[in-house]
Symmetry: C2
Subunit: 373 residues, 2 copies
Amino acid sequence: MEQASVGDVSGPARVAPAGEGIGQEELALAARNHGLPLEALRYEVTPPGLHYVLVHYDIPATDADGWALTVGGRVRTPLSLDLDALRAFPAVTHRVTMECAGNGRARLSPRPVSQPWLVEAVGTADWTGVPLGLVLEGAGVRSDAVEAVFTGADHGVERGVEQDYRRSLPLPYATAGDSGVLVAYAMNGLPLPPQHGYPLRLVVPGWYGMAHVKWLRDITLVDAPFTGFQQSVAYRYRWSADDPDDPGEPVTRIAPRALMAPPGFPDFMSRTRVVRPGPVRLYGRAWSGHGAVARVEVSADDGLPPIPAEVASPQQHPWAWQAWSCTWTATPGRHTLTVRATDTEGRAQPLEQPWNRGGFGNNEVQRVAVLCL
Amino acid sequence: MEQASVGDVSGPARVAPAGEGIGQEELALAARNHGLPLEALRYEVTPPGLHYVLVHYDIPATDADGWALTVGGRVRTPLSLDLDALRAFPAVTHRVTMECAGNGRARLSPRPVSQPWLVEAVGTADWTGVPLGLVLEGAGVRSDAVEAVFTGADHGVERGVEQDYRRSLPLPYATAGDSGVLVAYAMNGLPLPPQHGYPLRLVVPGWYGMAHVKWLRDITLVDAPFTGFQQSVAYRYRWSADDPDDPGEPVTRIAPRALMAPPGFPDFMSRTRVVRPGPVRLYGRAWSGHGAVARVEVSADDGLPPIPAEVASPQQHPWAWQAWSCTWTATPGRHTLTVRATDTEGRAQPLEQPWNRGGFGNNEVQRVAVLCL
């Protein structure tokens, strides 16, 4: 008998053919992980338990007592920092909107088989911690270091590869003050919840969630770009359905998106909204990892020109979503409300999503079905 | 043109034929609502955000300031109680395990189309509030009252019926001290999170989640049994696939169940577990709404007799789950671990689930696929 291996329980990445419904494995992921219920867009800072969560393996059993963050590799002074040592650094708080790179995946056709998000994998929190640059300054980064590699305590198998969750960031980006990268120990003023990385996580403002390594236990400075699974195999844009050997391009910053808190009240099963005729206030949040959101437009698919929304200034919290609102005059019948953000660099949400094999960076406009009665 | 109605966005209850994958509507519910990641069974009290959540419509925009709980109907003195008035009553805290009545629905074949839970719709919290009996004593229940009807602030459409979420409990059960029914304003020592009913919810120890009305705004005493949608149409056991007019039996108390924190580490996509050969500690929680759990047994499907687990005493918290643990000696190869609870009234989890049309009260034993390497 051939010896068993982790590959026996870990299939290759797969794309579901058109018409194949969500399977039990995708459902098991959807039941564990969860998105932001869209009505929670009403909160500028997402209350605990409503922020999206994506855990690759298990939430590890961690304890702040005795936790050590080690810093090594191409440094002059390897460090081992406990929570007290990190709290002794000057604390910084950033309000950051975080989004899963796979958000929108289950709207693609054909559908990449993985965590099946629709549009709701997002949330905003106030993260408090130490600027990464200060931590690394203490260790003394050697001049040949090109990247910092971050290792979490979560351990599992993915596409046949047994691994600790591990990602890197380039230097000097990782340590620049205006990047805002933090080693965070508090979320909304409290210790991190277990599912958000207790006791320590990385926060990388403007980047998709895969960069914000949770349960952070080690930072290693390296003199060559990191090529681990989560950097070189997963989290790549591969635009072709036919070339499995395409190395792809790295997934990094968050593409612009606006979401609407669906108006009126819903049907339980279809989630279609019911509104009354007359003026309806529409509101939500919009964000981009490339800069501020410059414009949000709502259309009600009735041949009328889009309604420009008022968009809040990003000034106070440059890495957080911006509130937007407008008034729509509802008339009896069915409508599809569409909301679309454009950032200050001119990036606009696509009306139809370009497909990629991993289902990353999908920011097709949101569409909300409404019946006005 | 016929006039549109809420029925146009709200289809009848439906059972998916065998082989039909989870659809986009079920997925949208799975992305909003969420279960307990099973490794979180390690916590006696579920941390915020890991407790299961099921919201029928939207989480309403509520505010404790100005919130009024009205008490009326067959009472001598109708009341309107704000949060301060409720906090002036003697406070009681109960540790309660809550489970969704639809837990396990997506494992049924054919599958009732609704929130597609697998096994994870459970959680345990410390709920603080006022015994319902004290609140009703203040209002003076008239002798002809037979039930109390509880109305939440969540509003929506379900199977064509526009409604506020509303459920009843029989008197005198609702007010008896040993029923433990609470009007709760705190969860784990803090104000209720929005998704758990802020600022007020009913807690009905031992009953499935549908009884624990969230965003509680009114209690009305009535002189005839309540026949609203959530009481007489939804949340009924209907054992026949062929008789849609079957009134069914009411869903009330939680059937016994044990869950295991899956051992070892998982594969990301299949969630299959990997363990090493040798002794493996297996642990989890078990509960029943009919009394204490008397016995938990684990089998590893290898022809060996089941392993009896040690089960913690329910003494201190009679309405909370009980910890269980045992040691399994893993041998190389594939295994399916099965865990089964039996309560003190002799109710044991079924090895194969009897089917019902709504997919309620499913407590078929959990099965965990494990590869030992």
